[in-house]
Point group: C2
DNA sequence: GCTATAAAAGATGTCAAGGTCTTTTTGTCT
DNA sequence: AGACAAAAAGACCTTGACATCTTTTATAGC
């Protein structure tokens, strides 16, 4: 019911919210949220365009929340990446009863309305500050090192650039 | 949020429920519900296998509800064609906090739970018998003729079988 | 100003949902 | 039994969500 993309977006937003002012690179977010890195990059672009995140290029760049966590709802995040559409008019296009929905679609829309209400009423801050709970995203923030590359313990033997590159992946 | 397929299935179920004991052919249902006929056939097979509808081949065959409308919920129909999955464990696979969900996924699952509750609590009979409302599916039952083919007014001139076949489509 | 870093942009690939078409099987009515 | 009606089955096509890869552009630090 909640698409992959929405899941990913929420994980990303919660993650950068956790880091406050400190920008996170797409790579870091991808790692922490376990989202495919290239796909996450694309997603972040959407969130930036929607005014939910803001980005900074270059060294020490990355993504931060564009708004206060208390002022950003789950609904808005979802709406940016994959809007949940309410049923406002008869999907069968019958106009004989004006804009009144038939019983079936009334019920369906009712369910959607519940979800909307729930999500509009939940801010990112709410998710961050669940009292007495495990940290959001089911993992400790400290789990992921923010340093781009920990100093290697051992210097590997002489090897070409190409080989080194391959190893990274 | 509600997929096409689920929409189609619900329309079909409501339609055959409206017709009670009288079987509806896939063609008729397709027409009434405005669902592509071949696709609806496939869908009906699923509903039959799930024990929600039952089918009868041959002349005067078709589909009828396999249960009383009062005993069949919207949830069951959805569950048959495209189950809504609750979030029972951390999608990130972190097990450090047992089976406890993080705040984010608690909220997401909460929303899903609301939908589940709503749909489990609504039977097909509820949808049929909305008091003082337009008929379900936003259209009059009478709109669709149950006769397979109204008597043609004019006999067309001599024409080959092939041409006749082509015309039908 | 050069270099390294990181986001932005755009082209491309993959797969499952949605949709179609054809043939086979099963049933009813004459 | 034969003709017809209808579901069942299965092969096939189309599209959009999900995902990847490569090139370009902007920025900080030296």
């Amino acid at each position: 019911m909640i698409s992959q993309t929405v899941e990913y977006a929420l994980r990303a937003i919660v993650t950068i919210a956790q880091h406050g002012e400190k920008p996170c690179t797409a790579q870091q977010i991808a790692k922490m949220t376990q989202v495919p890195a290239p796909y996450l990059s694309k997603l972040m672009q959407v969130l930036v365009r929607a005014g939910i995140a803001s980005s900074q290029r270059g060294l020490h760049g990355g993504f931060v929340l564009a708004r206060q966590p208390t002022e950003l709802t789950i609904w808005e995040v979802i709406d940016a990446v994959e809007p949940i559409k309410r049923i406002h008019e008869c999907p069968l296009g019958i106009t004989s009863h004006g804009s009144l929905l038939c019983p079936l679609h009334q019920r369906l829309d009712g369910a959607i309305a519940l979800v909307e209400e729930q999500f509009r009423g939940t801010t990112i801050a709410d998710v961050l500050a669940e009292p007495g709970m495990a940290t959001p995203l089911c993992q400790e923030i400290e789990t992921v090192e923010l340093k781009t590359e920990p100093t290697p313990r051992k210097r590997p033997k002489v090897e070409t650039r190409k080989q080194a590159k391959k190893k990274k992946k």
